[in-house]
């Protein structure tokens, strides 16, 4: 049987692939969920049309990273998949309901008359908000760890409802709103563009607050995290992450006050990445925090090997044609009907 475990550390590679696809999901679907969150506050229906048009060709591809996250976790770390899914049963289901409503709202909105359009506007906003909040809840609980007995989840049905995860939920909502608003700055002109700039400067504050809160509280969750960040010489190696984030926030703040179109979005992506990197470093090497490491939860080496071949071939191709789609739909979008 095909097995690469003698040559490479398969669980480590797979941990990296899963982390990357979750990041790509959060960054890409993050901006279109963010557009949905701030969408009802746009000054006019015309603005709302431009916002929808700016994300319509991409949302489907963006959401596929979530399927890769779920499917990939099942394939490469089945133990983690089968512990985490029942643990987050209700948040996952609510997230899925949110995604269902916002997903169909795209298609239905294009085809409905004006009075029906309102229903789909509500579905689009509510679905985006619910999905983002639940993703934050899941994240907040993931970093706190879950109750496990043997190879099964052993906690209660409502373990996920706690203060820290609510803060994480609000944090994700604000982070997505920032991604969404800077995306709109990049993709639109005129009224929509200047409105999005105002929104971005406003939510920027909330993103800064939630990033600080989560960063400060992380070391209290597990003392290994405290040791990791505050022991020497780690402290000096890791210090660039918060420092770069600080510079990023300042730069973004200044950019939103000048005539920059694409850079705010790029800086937000970098900030997003730094936050994610901080979490990733804190939680490494746990895949079910503080219970199973990536090596303990790994699928058999032959299973990880066979899928690694496919990933090595197809992931670069996927990235190429995803980039191509973004290139085809480059530039500013208008409010005109797309079909």
């Amino acid at each position: 049987m095909l097995d690469f475990s003698a040559y490479i550390d398969l669980p480590l590679v797979w941990g990296f692939i899963i982390a990357t696809s979750v990041f790509l999901y959060a960054a890409l679907d993050g901006f279109d969920l963010g557009c949905g969150i701030i969408f009802p506050f746009a000054p006019s229906d015309k603005c709302r049309d431009s916002i929808i048009n700016s994300i319509a060709p991409f949302w489907d591809g963006n959401e596929t990273w979530l399927v890769l996250g779920g499917g990939g976790l099942f394939a490469s770390f089945p133990l983690a998949y089968s512990v985490l899914m029942p643990a987050f049963y209700i948040p996952i289901m609510l997230m899925l309901f949110g995604l269902i409503f916002r997903g169909v709202a795209f298609e239905f909105r294009f085809k409905s008359s004006d009075d029906h359009k309102k229903i789909w506007d509500v579905a689009f906003h509510g679905g985006s908000l619910l999905a983002a909040f639940m993703q934050g809840i899941i994240l907040g609980n993931f970093v706190q760890g879950v109750e496990v007995d043997g190879r099964n989840f052993a906690g209660g049905a409502l373990d996920w409802a706690n203060g820290f995860s609510v803060i994480a939920g609000l944090g994700v909502i604000s982070a997505y709103s920032l991604l969404g608003s800077t995306w709109i700055i990049m993709k639109t002109n005129g009224v929509t563009h200047s409105w999005a700039k105002k929104v971005a400067s406003y939510v920027l504050v909330y993103v800064a607050i939630s990033m600080c809160t989560i960063s400060v509280s992380m070391p209290f969750i597990d003392k290994r995290i405290t040791e990791l960040w505050f022991s020497l010489p780690n402290f000096f190696y890791l210090a660039p992450i918060p420092l770069l984030a600080l510079i990023g926030f300042v730069r973004l703040w200044l950019d939103l006050r000048s005539d920059r179109h694409a850079r705010p979005f790029v800086i937000t992506l970098i900030l997003f990445f730094l936050g994610y990197l901080g979490l990733g470093i804190s939680l490494f090497p746990w895949i079910v925090p503080f219970k199973f490491t990536i090596w303990q939860a790994a699928a058999s080496p032959t299973s990880q090997s066979i899928l690694l071949i496919g990933t090595a071939i197809f992931l670069p191709i996927i990235l190429l044609y995803t980039a191509h789609v973004y290139y085809v739909f480059r530039g500013k979008t208008s409010a005109d009907p797309m079909y």
Binding site: L2, A56, P57, D60, G61, E63, T64, V67, L68, G70, G71, F74, A75, S76, P78, L79, Y81, S82, L84, M85, P86, Y89, I90, I92, M93, F97, L99, I100, G103, V104, E107, F108, F110, K111, N152, F153, A154, A157, A299, S300, T302, S303, L307, G310, T311, F314, I318, Y321, T322, V325, V328, F329, G331, K332, T333, S334, D336, P337, M338, Y339
Partner: protein, 465 residues
Amino acid sequence: MLDLDPVLLARIQFAFTISFHIVFPAFTIGLASWLAVLEWRWLRTGYHIYKELYKMWIKIFAVCFGMGVVSGVVMSYQFGTNWSVFSDKVGNVIGPLLGYEVLTAFFLEASFLGIMLFGWGRVSKNMHFASTCIVAAGTFISAFWIISANSWMQTPQGFEIRSDGLLYPTSWLEIIFNPSFPYRLTHMLLAAYLTTAFTVGGIGAYYLWRNIYVKHAKIMFANAMLMAIFVSPIQLFAGDSHGLNTLEHQPAKIAAIEGIWETGTGAGLRLFAIPDQKEETNHYEVVIPKVASLILTHSLDGKLKGLKEWKPEDRPPVAIIFWSFRIMVAIGFAMIFTGIIAVILFIRKKLFKTKWFQYWCMAMTPSGFIALLAGWFVTEIGRQPYVAYGIIRTSDGVSPVISEQIAITLLLFIITYIFIFGAGSFYIIKLILKGPKVVSDNEAFYSNSIEASATKNLSANNMKE
């Protein structure tokens, strides 16, 4: 709270969400291929009717595809939320198949769908046609992997169970190309084509009957009838071979399909019966002697195993399998009948003018969907009481979550899906009633509203740069 059985609830929830989901991919598999044919005909002939049909059906495609995507995302998480023990045990074996499906099909479909829907006028004609073909190919690749995983659950092989109770792969080729896979894949793809064909044909018949969009309707109707004439008989053979394969690997399922309780030779074909699981018998039987043996063993005195060969707890529920199978087969024959009539009417040059045949085809519009669901009921309920046939019982694969959680989310799924299905159907019917948008013969690729807005945007950007 009521004393609810979590296994039953988890099954009902999974069955409900997957039945809802399967309808959309099945329809879009057929529709994507047909759209590719339409666009190809338009590029080859320049006949504008093909383009108008393409642009009408792509909107319906988009609605169905969107509903397929959102209900499909649910599926990729429900394996874990509802069947976590199963997922843990078999993850090594079927996890990679699902991983390959995402990598080789989902991204392909999702990304190129964007170009297919919104790229009209933004990319070259050939690039647009290529996108349509890529989406169509993606639907096939997706079917390949998911049917492979499903078939493995029916006829598992290529693995070993080690001391930790988990399954470990021993041969990927045996896992992917498991015994029931080629039969199930063929049967499913043909079913998808027929489902789309009868939907398109039914709507074509409606336009013909109303005497509107006649040029478009003739193409729709004729293409659908071609499928009815050629594909439905092939499906009969594919289904028959699939049945023989099932007899070899899952004889209990065949016994339930045929409603046979006692093992014996020369088993009769039951046209009607009310199977009784408790009494281990059928009521009100209408039997044609020896025919079941003839179909399944190709001999009048062939021996067939009855359900009593298995312990009561190892038998699948008989009545629902028995009846779902009969519904599926009846619709299959109705499809073949449609094809035969179409040939006769075509020879008499009355294919587009026969009113009663138009009514018949309108009535057949949802037939593919019903047959498809009935078929899946047969094969999936026929797998019970196992989740992976002969290896893991369904009751052993369920997640350690409480019934209330499943019950509440099940209720939410039912409400959500009914609402969304209702809205989706409403918009599709609206699109059908609106019909194809008729545009002038010599309209250029880049000059109508979308293209114009896209190019306008591009040139505005170019000027700025």
